[in-house]
């Protein structure tokens, strides 16, 4: 006899058990899902928010009448990867016919305005842009900017080997290519494709491992979290994670992560992850600048970077790229014309993977250092800031070429072992202190030792203008015509050995006019002058001009025993080049947030540190260095009509060769020497000056015509005695004097000269 109670109980019990079982399973599953969900989100957010700062060169400002040669514009457009086409229609394309350019500019958001794409026509007349016209309206364009060249990034520390990109920097072609060849349903599926997954399951169950059938989302998940095992459990996790990703993030966000994560190459022991780095690795250019065939090649590599390696397996790579193009054509993503043109393009991969991702690592380092003063390192590496710098790629290219070409030439000419000479160049705008170029060494792509910033070397005669400035600031005692004493000198100072400066030519020159002593860089008369003025006074003036490093007050400091970096020398000479102002050297103009919101400007700032009169006299004296002094060989490179100013520097035993000089528009400092500080047996004029001349000759410098201050008057003087001359004097010169400081006495050659012999005049002078 059945007990109904028992039955009920049993029924109840089994049902309860089943319920419990189901409940625990659900709990377990949702726990697992929750765990996956958390880890998916943590992974994704962590990767997603670290956006490097992007560093841009200065944008080119185009206006009618500007100094610009057609080839310079062509070079800028090449650096920006504008495409040369027959009929430019799309932004980023142009046509050149002789000296006439048609350019469709890319739209760009600058600090002060957003500029839409413009159809420009630019005509040239020699070294000037003669007309700028809007092709659509036919009206003249007053002023337009090209977008700036991207010159590097400041990357997250744990991601040193990534070049992270934002979604809007991914070329549309690349996205379309990915969709055409990897995942056609990407925009409609929910993270996995049922058919693909079913295929994979069948293949796993029949022992064939997982075969294909992965959506882009699944590929991303695999790259993110999973080891390459092929099991059912793994496939299940992968599908779950893909669905969770799709739940939390938009398709564009997923694509962005994919583009930054996917494995597309191998550089010996370094894996190339992400299209951003791959673009530099294969094409040596930023991703946003890839054209259709290049983008198609990168997409093709996803399937197997080593199998399709374009450097080693170029035929395979070409076939794969063309298959991607074919699929894109099938989907109607590209036109037949685009397809045919892209198919026939060579791979275009650079032979050797570049050393770094920046063309100008030395300059980017200067930018990075200036930014560190104002921003936290982690913000620089993760907030996606846009840094607009002062770098002028045209000037930078000239500086790099001049340095590399001249150093090789010097080694050949002087039988110096090849690759032993090193050098550095800094170029700034003479009026506003913007750093236009910075070369840290011969290997311009090297991201290591930056000589322009960190090679501190004795500056030799480059200190001399500071001594002469100190003198000329005392017009009652010193003028350009004052006679200095260049006779043997022994200087005894407690605590140091006797100091007996020598001239470079090992001679003593007796009485020499002050301007001549500087022009010929005489050591002995300069040392005597410096001692008379006071070493401390001279060195404090160097600080006043902008040198921040501590300097010594020894007599040897007067001949440049103290060491400075090329950048510090530039800061010091900036005061002369600007006509007496301390203008802090700047490498940055503006910083924008990742969304284009203005964040910070680095404004032009000036402070007068030299009175206009003495500043004018020093520049005049430095012009004489080039006209008739140690730098007169500069005329091999540049016309004397430019009236350039400069100073050579050579240190003991010819270890360092320096030249600092300025034109009407630029100041540049060049150092040449060896890293191990061994003698190079080259003077300032023989080495650094030739680099300077070679570089400036390419840059069409403005003549140097400093405005004459109110308190300066020109007086004709006898070049020997420095006394007042007239028409009857042979070899007289016209010199500037601070009003009231000029000679009053007539020279012996002048008509009104007192009847006294020259000798007695000299004797009187030194009684």
């Amino acid at each position: 006899m059945e007990n109904p109670y028992l039955n009920n109980f049993r029924n109840f019990f089994t049902r309860k058990r089943l319920r419990l079982f189901l409940l625990s399973l659900a709990l377990l599953l949702s726990g697992f899902a929750l765990y996956l969900d958390i880890s998916v989100r943590m992974q994704f957010e962590g990767k997603r928010w670290a956006m490097p700062a992007r560093v841009y060169a200065r944008p080119v400002e185009l206006y009618s009448g500007m100094k610009l040669r057609p080839e310079q514009l062509a070079m800028e457009l090449a650096m920006l990867d504008y495409r040369a086409v027959d009929d430019p229609q799309t932004p980023g394309s142009y046509r050149r016919q002789g000296d006439e350019f048609t350019i469709i500019t890319r739209p760009f958001t600058f600090w002060d305005e957003s500029q839409a794409s413009l159809p420009l026509q630019a005509d040239f007349n020699g070294v000037r842009l003669s007309a700028l016209t809007n092709r659509a309206t036919g009206k003249p364009v007053t002023l337009a900017r090209l977008d700036p060249v991207l010159i590097g990034g400041i990357y997250p520390a744990h991601n040193e080997d990534r070049v992270l990109v934002k979604f809007d920097e991914i070329p549309p072609h690349l996205i379309k290519g990915l969709i055409a060849i990897e995942d056609r349903q990407f925009y409609t599926h929910h993270g996995f494709s049922a058919r693909g997954t079913a295929r994979a399951l069948v293949s796993i169950l029949s022992g064939g491992g997982v075969q294909g059938g992965s959506t882009l989302t699944q590929q991303l998940v695999k790259n993110f979290f999973l080891t390459p095992e092929r099991t059912l459990r793994r496939k299940f996790t992968e599908v779950m994670m893909s669905m969770l990703l799709e739940l939390h993030y938009s398709k564009d966000e997923i694509l962005e992560a994919y583009a930054n994560e996917i494995y597309v190459g191998q550089d010996s022991n370094r894996a190339i992850h992400g299209f951003g780095l791959a673009s530099h690795f294969y094409f040596d250019r930023p991703l946003s600048r890839l054209d259709l065939p290049q983008a198609a090649l990168l997409v093709g590599l996803v399937k197997g970077p080593s199998h399709y390696d374009p450097r080693r397996q170029s035929a395979r790579a070409l076939a794969r790229r063309n298959l991607v193009l074919q699929e894109m054509r099938k989907m109607d993503f590209i036109t037949q014309a685009q397809y045919i043109a892209a198919r026939s393009t060579p791979l275009g991969v650079v032979e050797k993977a570049p050393e770094g991702t920046s063309l100008y690592p030395a300059f980017v380092e200067l930018v990075h250092r200036q930014l560190r003063r104002d921003y936290r390192e982690e913000d620089l590496r993760s907030e996606g800031l846009q840094i607009f710098t002062t770098l002028d790629p045209l000037v930078q290219t000239s500086a790099e070429r001049a340095l590399t070409v001249r150093l090789s030439q010097l080694e050949r000419d002087r039988r110096i072992p090849p690759r032993t000479l090193e050098g550095a160049v800094v170029v700034s705008h003479s009026q506003n202190g913007e750093v236009q170029a910075l070369v840290g060494g011969r290997n311009t792509r090297f991201e290591g030792f930056n000589r322009a910033l960190d090679a501190t070397r004795p500056i030799g005669s480059l200190i001399k203008p500071v001594i002469y400035l100190t003198a000329l600031e005392r017009p009652d005692s010193y003028t350009l015509a004052t006679l200095l004493d260049d006779s043997p000198l022994v200087w005894r100072e407690r605590g140091t050995s006797d100091w007996e400066p020598q001239n470079y030519d090992k001679e003593f020159h007796g009485k020499v006019p002050l301007r001549v002593a500087l022009a010929n860089s005489y050591n002995v008369s300069t040392a005597r002058l410096g001692l008379a003025l006071g070493v401390r006074q001279v060195m404090e003036n160097a600080h006043r001009l902008g040198v921040e490093r501590d300097l010594n007050f020894y007599a040897s400091s007067l001949l440049g025993a103290d060491s400075l970096s090329p950048l510090e020398v530039t800061q010091m000479y900036q005061a002369f080049a600007s006509g007496g102002f301390r203008v802090p050297l700047r490498a940055i103009r503006e910083v924008l947030m990742s969304d284009g919101q203005p964040l910070q400007r680095y404004p032009l700032s000036v402070e007068q540190v030299i009175e206009p009169g003495p500043a004018y006299l020093v520049t005049h004296a430095l012009q004489m260095v080039v006209q008739e002094g140690t730098a007169d060989a500069l005329k091999r490179y540049l016309s004397p009509d430019l009236r350039l100013a400069g100073k050579t520097g050579t240190t003991n035993d010819l270890r360092d060769s320096w030249f600092a000089g300025y034109t009407g528009d630029r100041l540049a400092v060049v150092w040449v020497g060896r890293d191990d500080n061994q003698p190079i047996n080259i003077t300032g004029a023989g080495g650094a000056m030739t680099v300077w001349g070679e570089m400036m000759a390419r840059l069409d410098p403005d003549p140097l015509t400093p405005p004459m201050p109110e308190n300066i008057e020109m007086i004709q003087v006898d070049s020997v005695t420095g006394l007042r001359a007239d028409g009857g004097c042979q070899g007289s010169v016209e010199l500037p004097f601070i009003r009231g400081s000029g000679p009053t006495e007539a020279a012996p050659c002048a008509a009104h000269a007192p009847a006294r012999s020259l000798k007695s005049w000299f004797e009187r002078l030194f009684e």
Binding site: Y63, M66, N432, G579, R601, P603, L604, Q608
Partner: protein
């Protein structure tokens, strides 16, 4: 006596300041440049100032100065802007730059010395201000 003197100075200075409330040269004055790009940038700066947006006016002025670094009027424009923004040290430096490029333009020089005087006054340097105002006065003959 001295106190009274600086009061007078202050009065002169404030008259000078209110008289150039639209402190960039107006378009109908002498044109700032014969380069239309520079004129356009100056117009932009003027429009920013008219809207009371002094900070925004700095960028177009600096752009103009990159095109014409020897233009005394542009240096002066930036100098007046800095004076208005209360950056007195910068105003003084920029006015001195303007003087460097002023050539024979005495009116421009006088104006620069007045800016320098004003900037010094604001920084509490009464003696320096007096010297600058004196220089402004000597420019007229």
């Amino acid at each position: 006596m001295k106190k009274q003197f600086s009061k007078i100075l202050f009065f002169i200075a404030s008259v000078f300041l209110t008289s150039c409330a639209g402190f960039l040269p107006a378009p109908e004055d002498q044109p700032v440049s014969d380069n239309s790009a520079v004129v356009a940038l100056m117009d932009t700066a003027r429009a920013d100032i008219a809207k009371g947006n002094l900070d925004a006016a700095v960028a177009p002025l600096e752009r103009a100065l990159r095109i014409e670094p020897h233009n005394a009027l542009l240096w002066q424009g930036l100098s007046k802007l800095r004076l208005q923004q209360g950056q007195y040290q910068q105003a003084e430096g920029l006015a001195a730059r303007s003087n460097g490029w002023a050539g024979s333009n005495k009116a421009l020089r006088a104006e620069n010395w007045r800016i320098i005087g004003e900037a010094r006054l604001k920084r509490g340097d009464h003696q320096g201000a007096q010297a600058a105002f004196d220089k402004a006065a000597t420019q007229r003959n």
